[in-house]
């Protein structure tokens, strides 16, 4: 009898353990792995630099999360990141005085792109995969046509500062990159929107069952448009950060949308909507980036990173399903 008791007790404890979002222990494990090869990593400066590098993907994931939980996909986010980098260099032409107007124009573009995506999905009922695929082609074509196929010009220093500038001698953390502040602000806003407002709850409700949400009086259309706009705004933000440390190229944002979706899934977001947290999405993005960093430290070439990313992605999705089934 007692043995049986013990067994079921251990089983329930095991189940409770499984209910913890598995992304957190995985992230800790990966960071320990990085620290093993690079002891400086755990210094505050090392962590800050890691966060700075991971910031574009993390910001993009926070935006993508809103589209995912309402049951859609945004495959156009990576193309918008590219357009941001290209557009910034073409608008500013290296002139620091043009940095702020450029940022204004880029956010206006984001607003237009997100609204168009949302309205096409909601009004014309085109599945979001197809809508945002069309938008991806449109934005990539625009970036190429705008730059004439070979991007020239460069970004002024004050524009690049968002991704690159670092305050030194900050008490407690040694260094403080602007990118980390931007990331913190984005995460705070996203967490507030998703977990602290009705908007977040209604968005989750739409993802769970759009029809019943609508019957309950949820304004499905405006909310879905808002989700796509948030994703586009985050893509421009990610593009501005990326402009600080990556070059101006037509491939700047290639594949970042799929990486962001992967990060969100690793963080426990359910595809086709209804479930997801900002903390999980952030941890998923950091996990993916920590994985890239670790594979880099191990001296593995880029292609191997992709294979490992594929394996992790499948494992995370399968694990999430097992966890749900047992819960």
């Amino acid at each position: 009898m007692s043995a049986l008791h013990l067994k079921s007790d251990a089983k329930s404890r095991w189940r409770a353990l499984l209910r913890v979002n598995p992304v957190f222990p995985v992230l800790i494990l990966l960071m320990a792995g990085i620290a093993y090869y690079n002891p400086n990593f755990l210094e505050p400066a090392g962590l800050m630099n890691f966060l700075r590098r991971a910031a574009p993907l993390a910001v993009l994931t926070c935006g993508q999360l809103f589209v995912l939980i309402t049951g859609g996909f945004d495959l156009s986010a990576g193309a918008l990141v590219t357009l941001t980098v290209i557009g910034a260099s073409l608008i500013t032409m290296g002139d620091p005085a043009m940095a702020w107007p450029a940022i204004g124009v880029l956010y206006a573009i984001a607003l237009a792109v997100g609204t168009a995506n949302g309205l096409i999905v909601h009004r014309l009922k085109v599945p979001s995969i197809i809508t945002t695929l069309g938008m991806l082609l449109f934005l990539n074509g625009t970036a190429r046509a705008w730059s004439g196929g070979s991007p020239r010009g460069y970004l002024p220093e004050n524009f690049r500062a968002f991704g690159r500038f670092v305050w030194h001698g900050v008490p407690g953390v040694q260094i403080l990159p602007i990118a980390v502040l931007v990331l913190a602000a984005v995460v705070a806003v996203a967490a507030w929107l998703l977990h602290g407002t009705n908007f977040g709850k209604l968005a989750l409700a739409i993802g769970d069952n759009a029809r019943s949400a609508e019957l309950a009086g949820v304004p499905v259309g405006p909310l879905r448009v808002a989700a796509f706009v948030l994703s586009s705004l985050s893509a421009v933000t990610a593009g501005i950060l990326l402009g600080g440390f990556a070059g101006v190229s037509l491939g700047a944002g290639d594949g970042m949308d799929l990486e962001a979706i992967a990060a969100a899934v690793i963080g426990g977001t359910r595809l086709l909507g209804g479930r997801g947290t900002v903390a999980g999405a952030l941890a998923g993005a950091l996990t993916l980036y920590a994985l890239f960093t670790l594979l880099n430290l191990l001296g593995l070439p880029q292609p191997v990173r992709e294979s490992v990313q594929g394996v992790i992605l499948i494992a995370a999705a399968a694990a999430a399903w097992r966890q749900r089934r047992q819960a």
Binding site: G71, G72, F73, L75, I120, V121, H122, R123, L124, K125, V126, P127, S128, I129, I130, T131, L133, G134, M135, L136, L137, F138, L139, N140, G141, T142, R144, A145, G149, I206, A210, R211, E214, V220, L258, I261, A262, V265, L271, L272, G273, P301, Q302, P303, V304, R305, E306, S307, V308, Q309, G310, V311, L313, I314, A317, A318, W321
Partner: protein, 328 residues
Amino acid sequence: MSDIAARPHLRTRPGLRLSATTVIAPLAAVAFVVTALATGEQAQLSWTGISGLLERMVALGIVSIGQTLVILAGSIDLSVAHLISVAAVLSSWVMQGDPGRILEAVAAVFAVCAVVGLVNGLLVARLAVNPLIATLGTGLILKGLLSTSFDNFAGAVAPQFQFFAYGSIGPLPISLLTLLILALAASLMLRRTVFGAHLYAVGGNAAGARLAGIRTERVVVAGHILCSLLAGVTGLYLAARLGSGAPWVGKDGLYDLESIAVAVIGGTFLTGGRGGVAGTLAGVFLFAVLDSAFTMIGIDPFFQQILRGVIVVAAVAAYTFRTKAHVG
């Protein structure tokens, strides 16, 4: 999907979506003729021009047939682009220009494709991984494995093998004939066989199909294996056409996203259970006409891409906009 009942034109036999095939294909054909006449390219209207136009359909067409099958079963396959690259590289690497090794190379390609399809199917059906994530994952794995081993054109196909891409029987190119035979076979399979009926049943209502005694897992796995094999045929065709395979031929052709786009343009529902091969071919035909018309008019390639984006969305919107239900 209660709205379907109110739209009788969508209630057609499975395998033949009247709304897509009867509207898109003729419109595209008219657009092609008008463009050819307006730009003074009458040569395009000869049999050489038309068979050239139809040959543009082969690579995308073959893989899209497979994509249609998995979408009908309620799944999707994002790994086809990288699998096409793998097939193209593998075939030319194994052949190394030696006609004696054609059989070996083709067998190797089909074996690899069958395994990839099996893995995709098991991930989706057995482990219940979301198909987008599962096939995105296997695609990344394939891409990684391929680019660690090859970074440029690898080997060469045998000259005789290029007959697949350039040969013809009478006036009919072999490649086009292959596409037609595969499309016909897939269409017959969907409409006349038990397996075809099961594909629709599983995609339409997986739980219901299981209760009706259908082994849903096997159906999904078989669908994925067929899809991967067809991606392999596209890879072989590209290798034959280019004379050698390179690790980027699949991804650069956007075969993953475009095969999904043409299936949806052709009236196959992304939610599964509705659609067919004929509509998909109409979608592929539309893409071929666009390519060819853009070239005739002389639109610069960047603007072509912009227009393509608009047309993909517009073509789908043209018959989804009356839908009452919410889409994902």
